[in-house]
């Protein structure tokens, strides 16, 4: 028995005190990061082959998306505060900060949906912007408007799906937290949820830079 315990300790040592669940989430993050890496690198290669490529803010709403980025940074803060609260045994704090994170995530999605609807329905202003960017005759900005449109929609909607998954994930943990499932000695699932949510924020930082600013 002791030998088994020693072998287990030796095997786990490279990962310190990280639990199996946490290691699983890190592994998922590595793989998901590669998916985003593929999308962004593929997008950059297609951009290099494209005739017309709009500059920052020519079509996309940079100030609005910068606000969305700020919103996601705030939710990262509230998420880490949720973990900080439960580590001190503060269950009310956990519920409060998880709720704030979920509301922030929903607001982020709401703004993204509004941005999409604005592009899909089109307007005279948008048509003028599209013409200025080299897409003559386009009245709305759709995935088939250009390669730029395809890359924009694929990358941002793939990220949006992650935010939606994160919001559902938070909701499930929130329901458990309300029932008092987490304590100062039992917060592993909250920490794993935090890793996922911060990863969603981390990826957005890159998406915002590559798609909106460069």
């Amino acid at each position: 028995m002791n030998q088994t315990a020693d072998t287990l300790t030796l095997q786990r040592d490279p990962f310190g005190t990280a639990t199996t669940g946490k290691l699983g989430m890190w592994l998922f993050i590595i793989m998901d990061g590669l998916s985003f890496g593929g999308l962004l690198i593929g997008g950059a290669a297609l951009r290099a082959s494209a005739h017309a490529w709009p500059g920052p803010g020519e079509i996309l709403n940079v100030p609005l998306t910068a606000f969305n980025t700020f919103l996601l940074i705030c939710t990262s803060f509230t998420m880490v505060m949720a973990l900080n609260s439960i580590q001190k045994g503060d269950q009310k704090g956990l519920v409060k900060f998880l709720t704030a994170t979920m509301v922030g995530g929903l607001l982020f999605l709401g703004i993204q949906v509004w941005e999409y609807s604005h592009f899909i329905t089109g307007s005279h202003e948008l048509a003028a912007s599209l013409e200025g960017a080299g897409f003559v005759g386009a009245t709305s900005f759709l995935p088939n408007t250009s390669m730029y449109g395809s890359i924009f929609y694929v990358t941002t909607s793939f990220h949006g799906l992650h935010v939606l998954s994160g919001v559902i994930y938070i909701f499930v943990i929130l329901l458990q937290a309300k029932k008092g499932a987490y304590t100062a000695d039992n917060f592993d699932r909250v920490e794993i949820l935090g890793l996922f949510w911060h990863f969603v924020d981390l990826i957005w930082i890159f998406v915002f830079t590559v798609i909106y600013l460069i």
Partner: protein, 94 residues
């Protein structure tokens, strides 16, 4: 990593916001596009490091795990090399 780190977390959020605002300033700067790209990517990497090290508590993990997380970088560079190598042979698209 347990304990109250509220001040550190607030400071980190403030720095992330400052860097985001600075990025908005960079795209207005009258400098060559290549310099803008380098600056923007540097700022993005800095922000990513701040999120990973402080909010994801990566600085409290073991060296082994931290190094393991660097594995995707050479894979991504290999993919980038592959598509760059292919560019001269690709067609032009709209």
């Amino acid at each position: 990593m347990e304990g109250d780190h509220k001040k550190l977390y607030i400071k980190n959020a403030v720095w992330l916001t400052i860097l985001t605002v600075a990025e908005l300033g960079i795209i207005e700067l009258p400098i060559p596009k290549s310099a803008q790209v380098v600056l923007l990517l540097s700022f993005a990497v800095t922000k990513i490091m701040l999120v990973a090290l402080v909010y994801m508590h990566l600085r409290y993990e073991t060296k082994f795990l931290r190094r393991l997380l660097l594995v995707p970088i050479p894979l991504a560079l290999f993919l980038a090399w592959g598509v760059i190598y292919d560019l001269p042979f690709s067609w032009t698209i709209n």
